[in-house]
Symmetry: C2
Subunit: 189 residues, 2 copies
DNA sequence: TGACAAACGGAATCTTACTTCCGTATATTG
DNA sequence: CAATATACGGAAGTAAGATTCCGTTTGTCA
């Protein structure tokens, strides 16, 4: 699509995909502890090849985070379509959380564990913030949630839920945490 | 007090204190990223001296966590003395959170960032769990909080609050997060 | 098919901390 | 005030990983 992809040699394009896929899988499993050597081995290429495609480990991990994060905007847009303002908020939290489940690397990124991962994805962030803000503002206006709720609360609360996800993998715990959070959003704080 | 302390040479005891103080301060400021060399320099001793007193960096950090954590049991016991069951729970959450504020290293430990810090402090953990469990059970029995609340929810929720503390230092944000959590504990989930 | 630019592989290099070691200095004790 | 056990300092040793480099291989194009 981009000129870079057009001019890439066939084997290079293939390898890039393989590296990306391997990185996604290992990053999801082990977080930022993945080693480049591991990724290379898993992708069936040499270390040098990984570095040809991604100048640093950081750049590769940022790319992982970016592609996953871009899903958030889609989710927010879908949630916004729901008629019931309260359900839209609930949906926003629940589906965002589900999106993160099972990807330890992304969970760490959500938790801010390494701020570096978040540099360079401002565009994706903004694309999410817009619809999410509308969802929350609408619920506030409708009296469906506590009146002082703002978009800024979302990352904060999600960060908490994500940390439960990360440190108690399995699924049950974080859903309970989410329930408690959603209960706390009820109007009449 | 212990035989170790009694038989310690005077300069050694003094240095141990200095190292401990330096470690506490730097650990609070920088978390587990503190370097032994930094701690030594800050304490005004050589690297070797740090290692004479604490066999590994891990041991030193565990000691930091242990002393801080032992405060938790005291807090829980104090909260238990309050008559109002609901207030006792609120107090438990609030004061625990306040205890963590300002110590980034401990915050990371609370968030489980390195499970190693938690090995070897089982005793302190148990001393806290007992009164905290009683506080929560009493509130449940009194109908002051949602009936499915258990002690197990405490670490989970605190972990979330702590992550807000860590990633948004300054004070305002985490208190809001705490408010939302406390609101979510109300009966009638 | 031959020439050549583009990619590849992975050993070697660099970097960053933790940890060890041992010659030197100092507190303690009779 | 020795004699001696303790403790100290910090250079050197290791280890773990990221990153570079360059000789070799492979796709592309005329």
């Amino acid at each position: 699509m981009t000129s870079i992809e057009r001019t890439l040699r066939a084997d290079a394009r293939r390898n890039r995909e393989k590296i990306f896929a391997a990185a996604r899988e290992l990053f999801a499993r082990e977080g930022e502890l993945v080693q480049i050597e591991e990724i290379a081995a898993h992708a069936g290429v040499g270390i040098g090849t990984v570095y040809r495609h991604f100048p640093t480990k950081q750049a590769l991990l940022t790319e992982m985070v970016r592609t996953r994060f871009s899903r958030f905007a889609e989710i927010a847009i879908e949630c916004e379509e729901m008629e019931d303002p309260h359900e839209a908020v609930t949906c926003l939290f629940r589906r965002s959380a589900e999106e993160v489940e099972g990807d330890a690397g992304f969970q760490l990124a959500m938790m801010g564990s390494d701020q570096l991962h978040w540099e360079g994805i401002e565009q994706e962030k903004a694309a999410f913030a817009a619809p999410a803000t509308r969802i929350i503002d609408r619920a506030v206006a409708a009296g469906a949630v506590r009146e002082d709720l703002t978009f800024g609360d979302f990352p904060m609360l999600m960060c908490g839920i994500t940390s439960t996800m990360y440190y108690s993998p399995g699924g049950a715990e974080w859903r309970r945490h989410l329930d408690l959070i959603l209960a706390g959003l009820r109007p009449g704080s």
